[in-house]
Amino acid sequence: MPTDTSVAFVRTSEIPPSPPPASQTGLVKWLRENLFSSVGNSILTLVAIWAIYVVLSATVPWMVNGVWTTSSLAECREILQGNVGACFSVLTERWNQLLYGFKYPTDEYWRPNLAFLLLFLAAAPVLFFDLPRKLLLFTAAYPFIAYWLIWGGTIMTPIIALLGFVAGYFFFDRFGKQNFALGFIGGAVLALFVWIAGGALIPETANANALLPAVPSRDLGGFMLNMMLGVTCVSLSLPLGIVLALGRQSSMPLIKWICVIFIEFIRGVPLITLLFVASVMLAYFFPPESTVDLFLRVVIMITMFSAAYIAEVIRGGLAALPKGQYEAADSLGLDYPQAMQLIILPQALKISIPGIVNVAVGLFKDTTLVSVISMFDLVGMIRGPILASTEWNGVYWELLGFAALLFFVVCYGISQYSQWLERRLATDHR
């Protein structure tokens, strides 16, 4: 301790640091840096606040004053008495129509509901790798269960379809190891044989006294139809897309050109023309007495459509792999199917995941187009039976907003999943 008092003033301790100026701390600093850093920025901020205000001031009272319990638009107007307010009762009153279409038997709603719940169980092991692999067995059986639940009818149909696949798989498992082509073609022939033989076994009257009453495809509708088309077509188009992409890379000119022409043709035309093909033209190409129902025809065309896009995405993934990977597989003595299965495709598909998910989201949104060929999906239901009815003529915003919300939830969910998956699969060191 200095005791010399000849010096006029000696500071013996540090001044406590003074707090930063108010403009450099906390909320004020954040506001200055992020919203009002320059004149232009401030103007942008004010414009943005004004835009948000306009949107909210229009929608919030409308939603808050919404009426949920009336049975027609006229009653809604009576309750609202000229105030701004939504008439959400159309959603509650027509809920079943929006979800299942207007012809699906009311007593059977539990069937699509159950199929929808099981979908999560079936999709879970595909989407999340940490789950036990045994669950994949259920995933494999799911298409047949879902078919039986939604369409009903005799249980023999899905069982024989499943048996065909199982027979083909075991044949392939036994012989495919030595010779891929032999195993594959033999398995396909065996499956075909099982289907034809089994189909002959089903009695004509099987549908009449089935456990679940049969529901014809034309009775399907509403958001259920969108979900069914989306799930079916995405899962069918993925293997087809892989085959097309490999075919396009093939060194065999004939195979290559078939794939190139198919892909470029499909990608060059709008989906709606392909749906026209399904609704008015495809029937001419089936055998004269056969009646292939519209749902199946639409599934064929949408699957071909998305397979072409997925093929292009996977081709990008294949092209992104360094040539060394192909050469390494060759030098290990792997043949083509082995090299693809063990070395090339796992890497190429990993790179392609964001693109594939984009295609899947686009495809799911495009399922609304079936309303143009007079199938009553969600949009078809809204524009057709609901808006045309006398009770609900004029309730546009509630219905369209509901449709938009449903699609937004599903599509946004899928894209968030894909981002999670990308982070999960990132094996490079950063």
């Binding site: 709606i272 187009l369 546009y396």
Partner: protein, 409 residues
Amino acid sequence: MASLTDPPRQSFRLSMLFNDTRYRSLTFQAIAAILLALAIWYLGNNLIQNLRAAGLNISYDFFGEPAGYDINQRLIEYDSQSTHGRAAVVGILNTLLVAFLACITATVFGVIAGVLRLSNNWLVAKLMAVYVEIFRNIPVLIWIIIIFTIMTAVLPSPRAYRGDDATHSMLFDLFAFTNRGVYIPGPTFTNPIGGIGISWLLVLGVLVASFFGARAIAARATRIQEQTGERPTTWYLTLGVWFVPVAILLAVMGLTWNVPELRGFNFSGGIKIGGPLIALWFALSIYTGAFIAENVRAGIQAISKGQTEAAGALGLRPGRIMNLVVLPQALRVIIPPLISQYLNITKNSSLAIAVGYADITATLGGITLNQTGRAIECVLLLMLFYLTISLLISAGMNVYNNSVKLKER
């Protein structure tokens, strides 16, 4: 001394077709060719049988027959007595019109949203993220229907503009927004040179000539700069070359604006843009704009900060850094996806049929198909049209890609 002998020559065995790589690809291609031929034969046979059963044949004669339906929105003369062929041409022009308009506005929306999403302004960036996510994740068909509903159910009828106690009035006395369409002033010529159509072609020709003139001026400026090191000031020359000739031409032909007026129960004069066209145009623009915004953002983010800093270290000013360093590299990333978005707009414009805009899908693939029952011919021609457009656009894209490709080794 050991002697090497050639391995014994294997005679050809049938299993070599599958097991020997020399023959395997031939085998597979032969199988594929046979399957393809079988499939074509099967489908063709079914087609012939079905057509015979229905008493139909493939014929394009219906193109010469009168169509018998009206089209509201059209770029060329057409009435219900015109042929199906002419209806298809009207449809093609309408498709090209809406695709062209939507490409321009979608680019504008997309670039603005993409740049603003990278803005330092937190609120604006978040707002743009919300815009992109909302519009990308909801089907374009729903957007088209929503905007069409706004056009028809929210906008006032022309009647609301009538009388002394009119509830609505025209914007600047020039534009009228009604549920029958939007009316805007249209240019006309009081003394056109050889018909209205030829006059417009003349205007276009003069603009093309101006374009080449402006390029010549820029080339001359560059030449002088390379010789002397000083670039002559040319902006007033360029401006003059662009505007003076066309202004003179328009003045000679007597350009006047035909303003829409309320006559009776409806507006007349000016240009009427129908509700369906606006719905389709605007919906395609905002929907595709959200995708373009993401492309623009990715393009700008793809340019590493080092590029900007290096350019700054060379002493370039910010404007020149943008023009000479960042933009040329970002455009290389942005333009290919941008062009495929244009392709998407063209293909999505086929959704016009949902709101009754008479594009090629609605005329050839809709009313003509239903009236004549010629499903196969109509759908095939429809596909051929879209295929041609797509191939043209992708050919253009390939040319562009090759011209801007990084030239390496």
